[in-house]
Symmetry: C2
DNA sequence: GAATATAGGTCTCATTTAGAGACTCATATG
DNA sequence: CATATGAGTCTCTAAATGAGACCTATATTC
């Protein structure tokens, strides 16, 4: 496992990528940041409209919701469909790419939930020293 | 899959967590943010010292390196060992918890690499419209 | 018919967070 | 004596976020 990691990092460096700004990181930035993660989890349940997402994520601002949706749309991870009703309605849903990513996200979330007791214990040890 | 996601999100909401600030998110913040990801990938190769990490990640600042290492140490994801040489040397390495997390991280990176051509194509379509 | 609501945003301003880089302290080297 | 290293800390500036006012068009309520 460590070898896989080692090889990959070395490859990137050989290709002249700064670790902090390589293509892979630009994708992860859009996909694993705070709001994108929550948006993808919501859209993993069902397609949703803009204001529906706003209500589902009560502490996101319109600004960040718009921005995160645009990034994910641009990367082809979700689809944006405008219906010409009055007023027009806009629906967001996962694309095939997004569906393919969701399992990895859920695995991460699962890990975090499982590891939580250990993490809480570790924090307590750290804080009381 | 979508059902798993649905259940989880609903559980969190039932427990009164704001999606943007639940315990799981606090862990993901420490573990999936830009610098922590790169630090974990480096430490997945081998244990490293502070300045060694600085050199391996040329575009991180000392400030962010210190901060990211502290968070990961506090969460029990990595171990910090001080050796009483002169000058004292400090070695960072993955804990068992960190080792358990690494595969998920590598899976994410793998996905990003595999998906990259599609993503690049999607961006081109988006930008030329 | 005026007031208010909804959808899907954009714009501005204040607060947070991150980045650059100077400085510390003790020892070692030329 | 000047300079370097290891492992940070501190300060100052720049960039990213969050809060919330505002916009356009239709529909609903009084």
């Amino acid at each position: 496992m460590a070898q896989v990691s080692a090889r990959k990092l070395q490859d990137w460096k050989d290709q002249g990528f700064e670790p902090g700004n390589c293509p892979v990181r630009q994708v992860l930035d859009h996909v694993s940041a705070k709001w994108p993660v929550l948006i993808l989890l919501e859209l993993g349940r069902k397609p949703m409209r803009f204001n529906e997402l706003l209500r589902a994520l009560p502490d996101i601002s319109k600004r960040m919701l718009t921005q995160s949706l645009r990034n994910l749309e641009r990367d082809g991870i979700l689809r944006r469909e405008v219906f010409d009703t009055k007023p027009p309605s806009v629906t967001y849903s996962l694309s095939a790419l997004g569906e393919g990513f969701l399992p990895h996200l859920l695995a991460l979330v699962d890990w975090a939930e499982t590891a939580m007791p250990e993490i809480v214990a570790a924090r307590q040890r750290f804080d009381t020293v």
